[in-house]
Structures are given as structure tokens and as C-alpha cells.
């Protein structure tokens, strides 16, 4: 069975708090995800997501605050637009938009984070692993 690897960019005001709360309630999640805390979802560069996918990570999640609740004067609005464009690009290249999970305002609470990540795991498990198509760029960084 495919064991997906997930990288999560979590905004420190929402996604990270959700991740923290999931730990506090002793949620049981597969250990194959890593969280990189970011100041705001708008700080997540599209290059970083592509680099992660090229490096053999099966799915990337970007967790931010809900629309209208950004600490940075609606900076997450532009992030949504940008990352949805990236999803289109992932579709075009055949990687598939479902390898990039965008979630704004739905990972505040521990149980929400748990459901979201578990669902993403289940979805990625049904997909073939990305590794066989690793580019030389990804392997040698």
C-alpha cells in the first residue's frame, strides 16, 4: 500500500493552533506528515510547494485563516488566488490538483485539523506515489 508523505504549511494564527490542539487531545494521526510553521499563508511560495512535490513529497497542505479573519489585512485573499492558480497548473502538468490541499479557516480546532489531515491521507493513499516520476532536480536538490 502506498504510504503518502505530507508537508503542511500552517499559518501560526490558525493552522498551527489547530495542529497543537490536535496534539493536546491526543488525536491519532499517521506520523507521515511534517508541519512547517509560517507567519501567514501568503508567505508560502509556489516554488516551495513545487519543490516539495518534486522532492518526492506526495501532498502539500496550506492551512490559513478564514476569509476576513487574516491578521495581516486580508493577505490570505491573495494567497487563495495564487494557490488556486497553482492547483490549475498542477492539473495541467498531470500531477493533479488534489495533491495540494488548501484550507482556510477549517483547521482552527483540533478535531478539524485531525479530520482534514486524515481525509488528505486517505485521498493520497488512493493515488499512485509521486516517487517514480521524480525529477533529477528533486533527487539532488
Amino acid at each position: 500500500m502506498n504510504q503518502p508523505k505530507i508537508l503542511i504549511f500552517a499559518c501560526k494564527w490558525c493552522g498551527l493552533i489547530g495542529a497543537d490542539a490536535a496534539g493536546k487531545r491526543r488525536a491519532s494521526l499517521p506520523s507521515r506528515f511534517r508541519v512547517i510553521p509560517v507567519e501567514c499563508a501568503s508567505l508560502v511560495e509556489t516554488d516551495a510547494i513545487l519543490r516539495a512535490l518534486a522532492g518526492g513529497i506526495d501532498g502539500v497542505a496550506v492551512l490559513g485563516c478564514h476569509m476576513g479573519g487574516c491578521r495581516y489585512n486580508n493577505a490570505n485573499h491573495t494567497a487563495v488566488k495564487r494557490l488556486e492558480l497553482l492547483q490549475d497548473l498542477l492539473d495541467t502538468t498531470g500531477i493533479g490538483r488534489n495533491r495540494l490541499l488548501l484550507s482556510f479557516g477549517t483547521a482552527h480546532e483540533g478535531y478539524q485539523f485531525e479530520e482534514l489531515i486524515q481525509g488528505f491521507f486517505d485521498e493520497l493513499t488512493s493515488l499512485p506515489p509521486l516517487d517514480p516520476w521524480l525529477s533529477p532536480f528533486g533527487v539532488t536538490r
Binding site: D20, K24, R26, S28, R34, I36, L43, E45, N74, R82
Partner: protein, 569 residues
């Protein structure tokens, strides 16, 4: 080469039940950049902290990595305590291996150990590549500039002067008082408007700290938090004033209902403000009066509720019902808006005072009948389902407050936002009265239609918020964060590779990025007093010329690379 001291916390069995510490120390000892690995039972106790500090000093490590609980639990406290012992805060890294690893993967010890190892490696990568943002300080000019001398502006000016700061009070018209000068009495206390204004006006005349500039027109606005410079003309003279903060209390204006309900065509169809003027100079003559609410408000063009028109109608309707014997007073409304304890009581008092209320629907508004002046009003009573004809010789239209037309220009000058209607927008909902630029506050009807009591309250609130800036002699850009201690850094531009495309200028939510003309072309610049470190500019830069040093692309790349090191496929 810089060396890193890694401290692992067992948290008295909370972490080491799931994470294999022998495996961790074994893996970490292969890393050449790790100088010290120390396992401690509990880092957050004093004994643990003392051990960390002494070990760092002994081994001379440059950077410290703490693998313990999350920053939201005790991690942040541990890092701050170590910083107090003399290690720079940006050289201390925090890795969460309790909430984010041991607790969440308690049933998978092997996976949790591998995750802890990877998280620590990611932490090391982030420590090695993290840089520190530049900082700048601004000397605060201990004075305030207040735009608008209505009730909000006056209250703010008087409160600021009471705390001992100089105030420049600018007013568009000749006299202070704003819209309150045009009305007779205020709701809900039925207080005389001039009695309410007088103490404030006396204070601004008498207090040497307050300078009043009538007939002022702002020409330009420069500078940032702590040191703004405003240039304006007042009574024909050009004046330039420096100030530490700006309070915007420019108010709003009244909507004139041209063409609605025969306004302008039929005599005796007047607005609420004209009624106030007639009451004020004693020229009011009426027998049967009809008030019509929501004229030009709560429709498709202006979907908001102006909040003050219903109480004003209640005030004037009960006054007329009491003063004019034998006449009738009707209020035609689409739902009376009287929030709070005082206003709802006001409504009930008015109801028992002989004023009649009829509710109509938006799509079936009342019709005004008559030749050159009003004779009757036809209205479809939405509750009883019948059409009623009311005799009337005066129709009063309650119109909403609409934003001043020059709000957009003023907002552009100040570098703040207006909402979709044109009112100044605050940081909703977390920071009331504050705008996106630190040191600029909004209060009164410039923000949203409010009653005179609320305007005074907001003026005082803005003054108190302003004092928190003015009392400092210097403001560092790194402290300008609305959640204290939360600012991560400022964007930094690499001028050599910047192409001057202006993407960052368009993307910045705080007007912090700008373009500067150099010999070679345009180059982006970052105003640190405005930058909040969100990183929107970073992700739109086509060639990575703008970076947040604390979270740069090299660091993210390394962290991604280390995320799944040696993963068994």
C-alpha cells in the same frame, strides 16, 4: 563553523514514552553541526533552565535548539527565559516534539521517533539559515493631529490635552461642533445639543495645548508612525505640522433624497435635518406629521442601516406629539432599529406617548398625495394587510448618513483603507478604532454612523489608543505589531537583482512596498514602519529578490529537504 546545542526534553515521560531518545541522540551525533546533545527531564523547571544556560556557556555554542513542547505551551516561555540569560532570541530555535509528535502519534512509536528526528533536523536547518531583519527606530513627536472638530474630534482633543500632549485640531468649517451644531436636542437623554458641546468648546478655547485651525483643507500628508507631517491651509495660510499620531474624525454627511417621495417637488416634504433646523429656530408649523424611515437606506444601493435615523425619528416624533395638541404623528417604518437598553425603552415610551407606528414593505413604499404641498400619505400596512390613507401636512424623510466624498482621497494620503461604501475601515473585529497603519485612528461617523454619545466615546477611546504611542520617546519598527512580541520580521530587498516590476507594491496589504527610481531603473523599497512581515511580497516576487530574513527561501528549501530524511519507502 557555527555549532548548535540541542536540548531534548523528556517532559517526565510525556515525550519519551513515544519517542525513542537513544535513537534520537544516536542520529543527532552523526550531524557535524551539533556540538552538544543533552537530554533533560523537564526544561521548563528552573533546574533545567539553569543546566541549559551553563552548558551553553561551557561549550560556547552559537545557537540553541530546544526540542520540547509547543511554543503555545511552555516552549515559548523556555526560549524567552534563555534569551534573558544573554542569548539572542533569533539564535534560539524551538521544535515541538510533544503536541506535534509524541502526543499525536502515541500509537506509533517508530514513526514518532523518526518524525522527531526529522523535526529536529528541520529545526537545525531553520536555525542555520535564519537571519535577522534590520530594524529602525523613529523618534516620536509628542503631539497629535486630529482631523475634524465634531463631537468625536473634540472629545479626542480634550482627552489628549488632559494627558499633556499637544493637539492640533483641524476643522473643515468655521466653528467647532460638527453636525451637533445643527440639531436641537440629542437622544436618548433629550439633552440640549449646545449644552453637550459647550464644555468641549470652552476647553479647546482655554487649553493652551490645543490649537484650533478652522477652515482647514489638507494638502498633503507624509511620514509614518511616530512622525507624520501634514501640510494644510487654514484661513488662507499654509501650515505644516508634525505629529506622532493622527486621529481621523471627519464625520459623514447627510444623504439628500432628491426625487424620492416628492422631495424638492412638494412643499412640506423635508428631511430630518431640515426639521431639526425648524425646531431649533422655532419656525415649525405642523398639525399632522408623518415620518418615513429608511429613505435611501437598506436598499440595493445602500444596503447598510445608518443606525441613528430611527432614534432621531423617535426623538422628534415624541417631541411633536407632546407639543402639538390635536394633531397626529405617524412613523412609517421598515422595522424600528433600537438596540440596547436605553433606546428600546425610548421606543416604548414613544409608543405610549401617542405616536403611531405603521410598518411597510420595501417593495411597497408609501405614496405621497397632494398638489403643490402634501395632503395625504397612502401606505400599505404590512402587518394588518390593509391600505391606509393618512392626512398629513408635513412629511419628514429619515435619510441615512453617507460617507464624505473626499474620504477616498484622504485615505490615499494617509495610507489607510475605506470600505465598499466609502467609510474608513478599521481592523475588524480585533482592533477597533485602529487602521492598518499604526498610529492612525478613526472614530465617530467617519468610521460608521454613530450617535453623538457614541462619537464622544469613540473619540476618547481613540485618544487612549493614541497615548500608548505618544508616551514612548522612540518606537522601534520591530515592536509595531498588534499582538505584542509576535512580529517575525520585515521584508528585505536585494537591490542588485530587483527588476522593479512592482508586483510587491501591488500585493502589499499595508502599503509598505514602494518603488524608488535609481540610475539603473526602479527598485523596490520596504517601509519598515508599515511592514508587518506577512510575506505576501515574497511569494509574488518573480526572482526571489524580496525575502523575510527570518523565513527565507534557503531555509524553507532546506526544511523541505530535511522533512523526510532517510524515510523507509
Amino acid at each position: 563553523m557555527e555549532t548548535i546545542a540541542v536540548f531534548l526534553c523528556k517532559c517526565f515521560g510525556e515525550i519519551d514514552t513515544a519517542v525513542d531518545f537513544d535513537f534520537l541522540t544516536g542520529e543527532l551525533s552523526n550531524d557535524p553541526s551539533v556540538a552538544v546533545i543533552s537530554t533533560i527531564d523537564s526544561l521548563c523547571l528552573e533546574s533545567g533552565m539553569a543546566k541549559i544556560v551553563s552548558l551553553i556557556k561551557e561549550t560556547g555554542s552559537d545557537r540553541v535548539l530546544i526540542a520540547a513542547c509547543s511554543p503555545l505551551a511552555k516552549g515559548g516561555f523556555v526560549a524567552d527565559s534563555i534569551a534573558e540569560a544573554g542569548i539572542e532570541r533569533h539564535k534560539i530555535g524551538l521544535v515541538d516534539i510533544r503536541e506535534g509528535c509524541a502526543w499525536i502519534h502515541g500509537d506509533d512509536p517508530g514513526g514518532a521517533s523518526r518524525k522527531a528526528r526529522d523535526l529536529i533536523h528541520m529545526g537545525i536547518a531553520s536555525l542555520q539559515n535564519g537571519e535577522m531583519s534590520d530594524d529602525m527606530t523613529v523618534t516620536v513627536h509628542p503631539g497629535a493631529l486630529i482631523l475634524g472638530a465634531g463631537p468625536a474630534g473634540l472629545a479626542a482633543a480634550v482627552s489628549l490635552a488632559e494627558t499633556g500632549f499637544e493637539v492640533a485640531l483641524l476643522e473643515r468649517s468655521k466653528d467647532p461642533g460638527g453636525m451637533l451644531r445643527l440639531i436641537s436636542r440629542c437622544y436618548p437623554g433629550d439633552e440640549n445639543a449646545s449644552e453637550k458641546l459647550d464644555p468641549y468648546i470652552k476647553e479647546i478655547e482655554k487649553n493652551p495645548l490645543i490649537t484650533f485651525y478652522p477652515q482647514a483643507k489638507i494638502m498633503s500628508m507624509e511620514g509614518d508612525t511616530g512622525d507624520f507631517t501634514a501640510t494644510f491651509s487654514s484661513q488662507g495660510k499654509d501650515i505644516s505640522i508634525r505629529s506622532g499620531v493622527i486621529i481621523v474624525a471627519t464625520g459623514a454627511k447627510i444623504f439628500f433624497p432628491a426625487g424620492l417621495y416628492g422631495y424638492g417637488e412638494l412643499k412640506n416634504v423635508i428631511t430630518q435635518m431640515e426639521l431639526e433646523r425648524q425646531i431649533l429656530n422655532g419656525s415649525l408649523e405642523t398639525k399632522n406629521t408623518v415620518f418615513i424611515q429608511c429613505v435611501g437606506a437598506r436598499d440595493t444601493k445602500r444596503p447598510y442601516c445608518s443606525t441613528i435615523c430611527c432614534p432621531i425619528s423617535l426623538k422628534n416624533a415624541s417631541r411633536i406629539a407632546g407639543d402639538v395638541p390635536g394633531g397626529s404623528v405617524f412613523v412609517l417604518h421598515r422595522g424600528i432599529m433600537t438596540p440596547g437598553n436605553t433606546l428600546e425603552k425610548y421606543y416604548r415610551d414613544t409608543l405610549s406617548g401617542g405616536v403611531q407606528f405603521i410598518r411597510f414593505e420595501e417593495d411597497n413604499p408609501p405614496q405621497i398625495g397632494g398638489g403643490d404641498h402634501v395632503e395625504y400619505v397612502e401606505v400599505f400596512d404590512a402587518i394588518n394587510g390593509i391600505k391606509r390613507t393618512i392626512e398629513a401636512d408635513l412629511v419628514v424623510l429619515s435619510t441615512p448618513l453617507v460617507p464624505n466624498t473626499d474620504n477616498v482621497n484622504l485615505a490615499k494620503m494617509l495610507g489607510v483603507d475605506v470600505d465598499s461604501y466609502g467609510f474608513f475601515s478599521e481592523i475588524y473585529p480585533m482592533h477597533p478604532l485602529e487602521t492598518k497603519t499604526d498610529g492612525i485612528f478613526i472614530c465617530g461617523s467617519a468610521r460608521w454612523p454613530v450617535s453623538s454619545d457614541d462619537a464622544i466615546l469613540q473619540g476618547k477611546g481613540a485618544a487612549i489608543k493614541a497615548v500608548s504611542y505618544l508616551r514612548q520617546s522612540e518606537i522601534a519598527a520591530s515592536t509595531l505589531s498588534r499582538v505584542p512580541g509576535s512580529k517575525s520580521g520585515h521584508a528585505r530587498v536585494v537591490a542588485e537583482s530587483c527588476t522593479g516590476c512592482g508586483n510587491c507594491v501591488a500585493a502589499c496589504p499595508f502599503n509598505a512596498c514602494g518603488l524608488e527610481r535609481m540610475n539603473s531603473g526602479f527598485v523596490s523599497t520596504v517601509n519598515m514602519m508599515r511592514c508587518k512581515g506577512c510575506g505576501n511580497c515574497v511569494s509574488v516576487c518573480p526572482n526571489g529578490s524580496i525575502q523575510i530574513p527570518e523565513h527565507n527561501y534557503r531555509m524553507v528549501g532546506e526544511m523541505i529537504h530535511m522533512a523526510f530524511q532517510g524515510w523507509e519507502l
